[in-house]
Subunit: 384 residues, 2 copies
């Protein structure tokens, strides 16, 4: 019989954004305490956790302070000083997913090479340490340029359809890959436990806002044949098994017009494509992540109700204290669940919240999501 | 179009127990801030809210401090200085449910009289300001004695089957009522909005631990004919409409062997019989309460999956820092969702958490709830 004096575990979370916030809520529910490391005092996760170390994710002394005050360390972002985490893990601190896996994935070139080495299907690519029009032309258009480091939410990615787009190129060490004219973009959330047990959430479908590369609308489950969904789930599990590591992983894929599945990117953390699991699934991705890294049994990933999800992004041109319009109108629609992240200030395209729409008819959920997107606007008190 | 600068509202919560804790989580999700008034520093709700006024629910100056620092005041308990709240409401502070309704309900005698005056069916009763064996005998056994004030979780209630039970009597001003040999005990959660709109959650069935009068197992939905459930919901709405007030109300009832429904008690707050709504229903009772008192539209009360719920009570004879046994074994059962309340110390029969079990087959959910009850024990570090 297992015995835990409470708290079950003290969890250190590097990164205090919305993912850490939802994780901290789940942590309290299952009897864990949290400490958040984030440079912004009163960050979204810190407001819920109650304990925050104010500091940079790249500050070795702060990372050490966090590790020494907790039983298990995890993260809600990838742009962290992985070398220090590797050293801390080496000294015996529990850090999940493993910092070596984080280090591998946080550089998109090493990530891509690891996927290829593991036999995971992915778009053809080349390393491009010094991007130039000549190098792009040699690789051939259309192409996707990805900065090796620091990309997030569409930053660090440029789609170059032809030489006329060269002005959009990123002047940093990159990889270039074949542009895949995908039928759909899919994502699968995989949880892997300390004992190697794994659970897969049903495949979801992601729609991106043209030109912005930020997740615009999510449909869960994906509107694809069951055998394609099953293949996507098998591929996601194979990918995570190949990488190793413990916790939640978000695996993004392309479904090509030929019905081929290609892994696009892997995130070693809870993922925007799993937010609907809070309302729609038996165990949400945040509790699942905690169960995995603490060594508790993984929970059921069954989805109880179809769902659509949209992000609430800060309006263009707006900054300062957030002002939300249309919330009451949106909440009047049955099945609308609004999550706001408690960010003190908005900025253009900043993720300020999300809305999950539950409906037994996923087409209706999608339609209502479009209505909610039109209704809700997050502006700021400081704008021109 | 509605416009809210964030936070949507500052919510003051009187009482920082588990109900306030779950309310504070819901509040953050929909963009509200919370301040909790509770005498215990670091109380369950305070850990999540981030802001706590340490003080008594009976201290007029603390109640005033709370009201003056918030846009809307609500409560997670009934044993509060209602006179001060009535005065604060009179001065223009938003307090929901209305303190006059709280005052009416917190005295079980005035509650009972109000129900009768509104034509709500309820067990026959008598006021008994000075309980005595002679008075009990005159009323007739079996009877239920209820202390007028301060009862909660089975405290303040004595069931006297005959004169031999007179030693269990409570030496305080009371009412006595006919003991109802109920077929089932039911509960209906009703939400009433600022605009008078109301929503009813599906009727649930409560099983009590013999002799302890603490909710032992909840089944949602109740295993009763649809027309009885519908009648219970109509009766609950009629009861809440008669009392007035805004927010969530828990209406407990007896279903007699003759199929009659009698209202037992009304709680002007979120309720133990609605905990399963967090996982099982589209809108949980805590967010629903906040939507009501803030003036946002009420959400769907639809239940997505059958559920059973058990409370996790502190083991007999145990005190001190809580120690939980069997949690991992319980979490290995699909559909098991554990909620721990973060209380610093356990005590016999103290509510330390609850478990919701989701299953498409409610008989299986019930069976698994019994398994979980056997598996999980909450003991304390200080015990004989």
């Amino acid at each position: 019989m297992d015995v835990f004096p409470l708290p079950i575990a003290r969890i250190g979370i590097i990164g205090g954004g919305q993912l850490g916030r939802m994780m901290a809520k789940a942590a309290k529910r299952i009897g864990c305490n949290c400490v958040v490391l984030d440079p912004t005092p009163g960050c979204p996760a810190g407001q819920v956790a109650g304990h925050q170390i104010v500091g940079s994710y790249h500050d070795p002394s702060k990372l050490r302070e966090l590790a020494e005050s907790c039983d298990v360390v995890t993260f809600d972002i990838e742009d962290i000083d992985a070398e220090t985490l590797i050293q801390l893990a080496h000294e015996g601190h529990n850090i999940h997913p493993a910092p070596t896996v984080l280090a591998l994935l946080q550089d998109k070139l090493t990530q891509k090479r690891a996927l290829v080495a593991a036999g995971i299907p992915t778009a053809a690519f080349e390393s491009m340490p010094e991007p130039s029009s000549a190098a792009f032309a040699a690789f051939g258009y259309p192409l996707v340029q990805k900065a090796c480091r620091g990309g997030y939410d569409g930053r660090g990615v440029a789609i170059l359809k032809g030489p006329e787009d060269d002005a959009m190129q990123l002047p940093v060490p990159s990889l270039v890959e074949r542009f895949i004219p995908a039928e759909k973009e899919l994502a699968v959330i995989v949880a892997r436990g300390l004992d190697g047990d794994h659970r897969c959430y049903p495949t979801v479908e992601m729609c991106f806002r043209p030109g912005k590369n930020v997740l615009d609308l999510l449909l869960a489950p994906a509107q694809i044949p069951a055998e394609v969904a099953a293949a996507a789930e098998r591929l996601a599990v194979r990918t995570v098994e190949a990488l190793g590591g413990v916790g939640i992983f978000g695996v993004e894929m392309f479904l090509t017009h030929d019905g081929e599945l290609l892994v696009n990117e892997v995130a070693p953390r809870t993922h925007n494509s799993g937010h609907h699991t809070i309302e729609a699934n038996v165990t949400d991705q945040f509790e699942q992540h905690l169960r995995a890294i603490v060594g508790l049994p993984l929970g059921s990933t069954e989805q109880l109700c179809p769902a659509a999800m949209i992000n609430l992004l800060g309006a263009e041109g707006h900054h300062g204290r957030p002002v939300i319009r249309g919330m009451a109108e949106a909440l009047a629609i049955p099945g609308v669940c609004i999550h706001l992240y408690g960010k003190a200030a908005t900025a253009p395209y900043r993720k300020m919240g999300h809305v999950t729409i539950l409906s037994h008819d996923i087409a209706q959920a999608r339609q209502q999501a479009e209505v909610v997107r039109q209704l809700i606007e997050i502006s700021g008190e400081n704008h021109p």
